[in-house]
C-alpha cells in the first residue's frame, strides 16, 4: 500500500518489505513496514501490539502490592529496575520512607541489572552485524553470573519480584555481598577483554560509524532518554538530575557521545558499565547495617490518600516512569507505565531514512528495545 503511494513520487517501482514480526533482528515480536528504493529505505513505519496484554488495565484491577510481580514482565530483562520505578512511585504517592540499607541494596541490584543489560545489548548488536554467536555467548556467560546472584537473593533468575514499598523483600547476607563483590571485581577484566576483541574491530567500526545519526535537539524533542540520548551528546541522567535513592552519595561520571551514531550508542553503554562498576564497588564496600523495611510501611491492603504521583528512574534503557492516581481505594484508579523503549522508537524512521536495509537492523539493535515494555 505505502509502496504504491511512493511509486508516483519516485517514478519507478519501489519494494515494500514487512520486516518481522518473527525475525531474529527485531528482538521480539515487532514489525517494520519498510519501503525500499533499491537497497535504500525511503519509508519506515513501526507496527506494535503483538505482545499487548493491557498491563495497565490488569494493574488497575489489582491491589498495589499485586502489581509488583507484573512489573517484572514489562522489561523482562531488567526486572529489578522495573520494581524500583514502581515502588518508588507508590512510596511517593503514600509518603513511605525507605531505610538506608534498603536504598543501598536497591542501588546494588539496579546497577548489576544495568551491567548485564548493556553487556547483552553489545552482544545482540554484534549478532545483528553478523558476528553470530561468540560475542553474545561471552555476554550471556557474564550475565549468568549476575543472574546466579539474583537467584540466590530472590529465588528467581529473571522475574525477581524483589522490592516492596518501604524496602526490599529479604535482606542480603554477608556471604552474598562477598559473592557479589567477586562478580563485580571480575567484571572489569571481562570488559577489557570484550573491548579488546570488539571495539577496535574494523567490521564493527564500518557498520556503526556514521550510521543512524540522531541529533541532540531532535532526541530531546522526541523524548529519547537513556544511553541513546547521551550518545547524542545531551547530558541528562536521571540518577544525577533527580538524585533519587542515594545516588547523590556515589561518584560517577556521565559518558557522552559526540555524533549520535550507532557506534556512539555502543561506546556510551560500554563506558556506562565502567561507571556502574565504580558505583557497585563503593556501595558493596560501604553498605550500612540496619533494617530493610520501613516499620510503618503497609504492604497488604495499602490505601493511599486520594491524589496522584509520577515517579521515574534511570532504567538501563532510559526513563522508566510510573504514573499512579489513587482514589482512596485498595487498587489504583489509574496506573500508567511510561516505557522508555516505546518512546525511543518515535524517531526510528528519522534515523533509518536514506540508510540501507541492512543498517536498519543495526540501528534498531542500537535503540535497545524490549517488546514486553513497548506493547505492555
Amino acid at each position: 500500500m505505502i509502496a504504491e503511494c511512493c511509486k508516483a513520487e519516485k517514478g519507478h517501482d519501489l519494494l515494500e518489505v514487512s520486516m518481522g514480526p518473527h525475525h531474529p533482528s527485531t528482538h521480539g515480536v515487532f514489525r517494520m513496514d519498510v519501503v525500499l528504493d533499491g537497497e535504500t529505505v525511503v519509508k519506515l513505519k513501526p507496527v506494535f501490539g503483538y505482545l499487548h496484554r493491557n498491563h495497565e488495565k490488569i494493574a488497575e484491577k489489582n491491589s498495589y502490592l499485586a502489581s509488583i510481580p507484573y512489573t517484572d514482565r514489562l522489561d523482562y530483562i531488567c526486572s529489578m529496575t522495573n520494581n524500583w520505578a514502581y515502588v518508588l512511585t507508590v512510596e511517593k504517592l503514600s509518603g513511605i520512607s525507605v531505610p538506608e540499607r534498603s536504598e543501598y541494596i536497591r542501588i546494588i541490584v539496579s546497577e548489576l541489572t544495568r551491567l548485564f543489560n548493556h553487556t547483552c545489548l553489545a552482544g545482540f548488536l554484534l549478532q545483528d552485524m553478523g558476528a553470530l554467536g561468540t560475542p553474545l555467548m561471552y555476554a550471556f556467560r557474564e550475565r549468568e553470573k549476575i543472574l546466579d546472584l539474583f537467584e540466590a537473593l530472590t529465588g528467581s533468575r529473571m522475574m525477581c519480584n524483589y522490592m516492596r514499598f518501604g524496602g526490599c523483600r529479604c535482606d542480603v547476607s554477608a556471604d552474598w555481598i562477598k559473592q557479589a563483590s567477586a562478580v563485580v571485581d571480575r567484571y572489569s577484566p571481562f570488559l577489557e577483554e570484550f573491548e579488546a576483541l570488539i571495539t577496535g574491530n574494523e567490521i564493527l567500526r564500518v557498520r556503526s560509524q556514521g550510521v543512524g545519526i540522531l541529533s541532540g535537539d531532535l532526541a530531546v524533542n522526541a523524548g529519547v532518554t537513556g544511553p541513546m540520548l547521551r550518545a547524542s551528546g545531551v547530558n541528562y541522567d536521571i540518577r544525577k538530575v533527580d538524585n533519587y535513592g542515594l545516588y547523590g552519595r556515589f561518584e560517577f561520571r556521565v559518558p557522552l557521545g559526540q555524533t549520535g551514531d550507532v557506534f556512539d550508542r555502543y561506546m556510551v553503554r560500554i563506558l556506562e558499565m565502567h561507571e556502574s562498576i565504580k558505583i557497585l564497588k563503593a556501595a558493596l564496600l560501604t553498605i550500612p547495617a540496619g533494617p530493610i523495611m520501613d516499620p510503618k510501611a503497609k504492604l497488604r491492603n495499602l490505601r493511599p490518600k486520594t491524589g496522584e504521583a509520577y515517579g521515574r528512574i534511570e532504567g538501563p534503557k532510559g526513563e522508566l516512569g510510573f504514573y499512579l492516581i489513587s482514589d482512596g481505594t485498595a487498587n489504583p484508579y489509574r496506573y500508567r507505565v511510561r516505557p522508555p523503549s516505546l518512546v525511543n522508537l518515535t524517531i526510528l524512521e528519522d534515523m533509518c531514512l536514506g540508510q540501507t536495509i541492512a543498517d536498519v537492523v543495526v540501528i534498531l539493535g542500537s535503540v535497545d528495545i524490549v517488546l514486553g515494555e513497548v506493547d505492555r
Partner: protein, 189 residues
C-alpha cells in the same frame, strides 16, 4: 521541583503570554506534592508552544503523556495528561491537563505532537485505548489494538467481549466457549 508556591506564578505568566487562556490549578493531596495545570483545549497548543520556547521555562521534553477516564464525574470526561521536564534547565515536572467536554461525541483535543515529537506514539496510544481524538496529529491510528477493533479497552465502562469468535483465529475451545454463549442460536440450527 515545581510546587504549589510557584504554580500560581506560572499561571499568571501563561495568562499574560496567551491572551484568553483559561487556566486552573488542580490540587494534589498526596505526599508527592505534584499539582497540575488544567488548560483549555482552545489555547492548548499556544500554551504548550510558549512553555517550550520561553527562555525561563524551556520545557523541551514531554516525558509522560497519558489519558484518564473520569467516568464517575458528572458529566464524565476524558483527560490527557502531559508531564513536562526541561532538559536544558533541569526542572520539572510541570503537569498539564486537557479535558474533553464529554465521553461520547465531543472528545477532540489539540495534538501537542507538533510541539513535542515524543507525544506522537503516546497520543496514538491514548486514541487507541481511550478514544480521545487528537486534532492535527500526523498519524492517528490504532497502535496496540488491531485496526478492525472497535471500542476503547482502557475506558472504565469497557465490557470485555466473551464471544471469542471475534478472535482473529478462532480454534476449538474458543469456538466451544462461543457455542455456550449463544445457546439459542444453536437451537435454531
Amino acid at each position: 521541583m515545581i510546587t504549589m508556591q510557584t504554580l500560581p506564578e506560572i499561571k499568571v505568566r501563561l495568562e499574560n503570554a496567551v491572551p484568553g487562556a483559561r487556566i486552573e490549578i488542580v490540587a494534589n493531596d498526596s505526599p508527592a506534592n505534584q499539582p497540575s495545570l488544567l488548560i483549555d483545549a482552545e489555547h492548548g497548543r499556544a500554551i504548550a508552544q510558549f512553555l517550550r520556547d520561553d527562555p525561563e521555562f524551556k520545557f523541551d521534553y514531554a516525558s509522560n503523556v497519558t489519558g484518564i477516564d473520569w467516568l464517575g464525574k458528572t458529566p464524565g470526561y476524558l483527560e490527557a495528561v502531559y508531564h513536562l521536564y526541561s532538559v536544558a534547565l533541569r526542572q520539572g515536572p510541570l503537569i498539564l491537563r486537557l479535558r474533553t467536554e464529554n465521553r461520547s461525541d465531543k472528545v477532540t483535543l489539540p495534538s501537542l505532537t507538533p510541539v513535542w515529537r515524543s507525544c506522537e506514539l503516546q497520543e496514538r496510544e491514548i486514541f487507541d485505548l481511550y478514544g480521545i481524538i487528537f486534532d492535527e496529529h500526523p498519524d492517528l491510528r490504532r497502535i496496540l489494538m488491531w485496526d478492525g477493533f472497535v471500542d476503547h479497552p482502557m475506558r472504565k465502562d469497557y465490557v470485555e467481549p466473551d464471544d471469542y469468535e471475534y478472535e482473529p483465529t478462532p480454534h476449538d475451545d474458543v469456538l466451544e466457549k462461543a457455542r455456550l454463549h449463544y445457546p439459542a442460536k444453536e437451537a435454531a440450527v
